[in-house]
């Protein structure tokens, strides 16, 4: 774990990714002005529920969003080691993907090609980016399988995805992503589709690999528990925007944005006695019709007239590295008037 000194490895500023929907429904502003930094060696958790834009954000970084119907608006900045990824030509972008920035996905069954062996798929990245010979690449693949903790790697390297369990497939995907020792790993809900005991294994593996390889991890998840245990800093997203950014302990101890508060109250806990869960009323609005002013105001227990008309900017809360997009930061006395 490193601190936030020094330059950011990945800088995202004012990212906007919009989708054109079928006639009559308008534009879906899935990611609507998102900014955050990722520092070397740290794990940044991006937390949010469905419809908040976190997956689209991760896809936008590597420009994997399908161009129609989606497009990244000009004015968005995605800087990796100082270079603007959005301005790169196709061959240069390809040199970054899989090589410097790698990505793993939620569903290992559909992310792995069923007709190629596991070894071939891992070796592919090595062949493409590092120009290894097939033999060397195969040896590399076996090494990677070992690294991610798959038993009998020399045999497994010739297995097909369907011969492996869900947890193993996810490990293979991690191996594929890490073959070229990328500096950044984007993990999009890597454990959501896995059983709880397997999830623990995979998260432990990711922690270990991060330490060994010294890479930065962008961990996208809806699970606050995962973020609590594995992220250094957290970004909370709602309705296409970042609503709160903080170091992990700061977020959980002093949640500032009402949405974060609501989420924390709604998560069922093992250590708490049986009780009624606090539910956030209402539901996530559609990306084609974000509410005016603060996007959370229709569901917020504190909202007052200012929240309906003026959208708050990211405001410093006073705690280091902790910002929140909420008027309560400037008018904390309003917290008393909770509905």
């Amino acid at each position: 774990m490193t601190g936030t000194e020094g330059p950011a490895l990945l800088r995202v500023r004012d990212l906007k990714t919009y989708f054109v929907t079928e006639q009559g429904k308008g534009t879906a502003r899935a990611v609507d002005d998102v900014s955050f930094d990722l520092y070397p060696g740290e794990t940044l958790g991006i937390v949010g529920e469905s419809g908040c834009g976190k997956t689209v954000t991760s896809l936008s970084i590597l420009r994997l969003v399908p161009e129609p119907p989606g497009h990244i608006l000009p004015g968005s900045v995605i800087e990796f080691e100082g270079r603007n990824l959005l301005a790169l030509a196709a061959p240069e972008l390809r040199a970054v993907r899989g090589n410097q920035i790698a990505m793993i996905f939620q569903e290992p069954m559909t992310s792995l090609n069923p007709v190629f062996t596991v070894g071939d798929q891992i070796a592919e990245a090595a062949i493409v980016h590092q120009h290894l010979s097939r033999k060397a690449a195969r040896a590399r693949a076996i090494e990677m399988l070992q690294l991610v903790g798959i038993p009998d790697p020399k045999e497994r390297v010739d297995h097909y995805p369907h011969q492996l369990s869900g947890g193993m497939r996810q490990r293979v995907m991690i191996a594929m992503a890490l073959v070229c020792h990328p500096k950044v790993l984007i993990a999009d809900e890597p454990t959501t589709a896995l059983d709880v005991t397997i999830q623990a294994q995979i998260l432990e593996l990711l922690d270990r690999l991060q330490n060994e390889l010294g890479m930065a991890v962008l961990l996208i998840t809806h699970d606050l528990g995962v973020v609590a245990g594995h992220a250094d800093r957290v970004v909370v997203m709602y309705a296409g925007r970042v609503v709160e950014t903080a170091p992990t302990s700061g977020l959980f101890e002093q949640p500032t944005h009402p949405y974060t508060e609501g989420l924390l109250a709604a998560v069922p806990r093992i250590d708490a006695p049986r009780s009624r869960l606090h539910a956030i009323p209402g539901q996530v609005p559609a990306a084609t019709a974000w509410p005016t002013g603060c996007r959370f105001h229709p569901r917020c227990p504190y909202a007052w007239d200012k929240c309906v008309t003026q959208e708050p900017p990211q405001l410093e809360t006073g705690a280091p590295g902790h910002t929140a997009r909420c008027w309560l930061v400037t008018e904390p006395e309003r917290r008393q008037a909770k509905r």
Binding site: A200, G225, A279
Partner: protein
């Protein structure tokens, strides 16, 4: 008063036959391998397990949505497996099910109203659709909509309304919140709890998430590879789990608390396939218990009472990890 009594329920799926359906079948999948429990009226039993544990199969077989291989289920003194089709259909009113996937549990070609009216038609009940919608917290305007126009949480509410329309006494909730977002999950869990109080329902709550179960269950049973490995009142199982798998499961749940520096028990290896369960204790290959021995490899531990009301299937349950 016991409402549901399950005794030695077994469900095996025959393996694929080779030679175009005429040869000997391959190994059977022992999805449920001897499960017993009872639920008292008005209570909730949480049934917890991961993939391959057989929990969903228990729920469906209990309601005879699949024919069992062996065992007995007594519902209000009726032997569910011995009933003929007509009596079974009548009994279906009293035992219902809510499904996991809000996207496939509603007929995409029927409006909400049609979906809710159907059970009333089948059983010749009079009942108002708007009242049902209201009870699950949906506005009457939803009646004319199609499932694809609703969100996951809304669909799940319709599924619950559908189950309630026939006025059941017992509801099997098969992972009803697993596919929902956290905030919606809380809404639906609260709804289920409210309905239980208001209508005096009895639940079998199937889930893989121990934290969710904590908030709704009176008793908890943990399943692994088709067998119950531990069963106890909820408070006890969370405070003093006696089976190593339960411990590992509890430890693996990510807690939204950065300070919780747990000694996390991370199990090695994968969940074995129910078609090839290990010999002896099904959990022994992955078991981290320090006292694990040869006995675990050869002798399957019976589910026995360790302290009053608390059962565990482990040779070393008296000395938990």
């Amino acid at each position: 008063m016991t409402l549901v009594d399950v005794r030695d329920l077994v469900k095996h799926y025959a393996g694929e036959r080779r030679w175009f359906g005429l040869g000997r079948p391959a190994a059977a999948v022992r999805a449920v391998d001897g499960v017993s429990f009872a639920i008292a009226s008005g209570k909730t039993l949480g049934l917890v397990g991961e993939s391959g544990s057989g929990k969903t199969t228990v729920g469906r077989t209990m309601l005879r949505l699949q024919e069992p291989t062996a065992g007995k289920v007594l519902f209000e003194e009726n032997d569910v497996f011995a009933l003929d089709a007509t009596r079974l259909r009548a009994l279906r009113r009293r035992m219902q099910i809510v499904f996991q996937d809000p996207y496939s549990s509603l007929n995409p070609r029927m409006t909400v109203e049609e979906t809710l009216r159907e059970p009333l038609e089948i059983h010749g009940l009079s009942g108002a659709v708007p009242a049902l919608l209201d009870e699950v917290g949906l506005d009457a305007a939803f009646a004319k909509r199609y499932p694809h126009e609703l969100s996951g949480g809304q669909r799940q509410r319709v599924g619950i309304a559908r189950a309630l329309s026939v006025e059941p006494k017992f509801v099997v909730c098969d992972e009803p919140v697993s596919a929902l977002d956290v905030s919606v999950q809380a809404q639906v869990l609260n709804l289920l709890a409210d309905l239980q109080t208001r209508r005096r329902l009895t639940y079998l709550f199937i889930a893989h998430d121990l934290a969710v179960v904590r908030h709704i269950a009176d008793d908890v049973a943990v399943m692994y590879l088709g067998k119950i490995v531990e069963r106890a009142p909820a408070a006890e199982i969370y405070a003093q789990p006696r089976h190593p798998y339960t411990r590992a499961l509890l430890s693996a749940v990510p807690e939204p608390n950065p300070r919780a520096s747990k000694q996390r028990i991370v199990l090695a290896g994968d969940i074995p396939s129910p078609a090839h369960p290990p010999s002896g204790c099904p959990f022994h290959p992955r078991c981290p218990h320090p006292l694990k021995s040869e006995r675990c490899h050869t002798e399957p531990p019976p589910l026995r009472e360790i302290t009053p009301g608390h059962l565990a299937a482990c040779h070393y349950a008296e000395k938990p990890m």
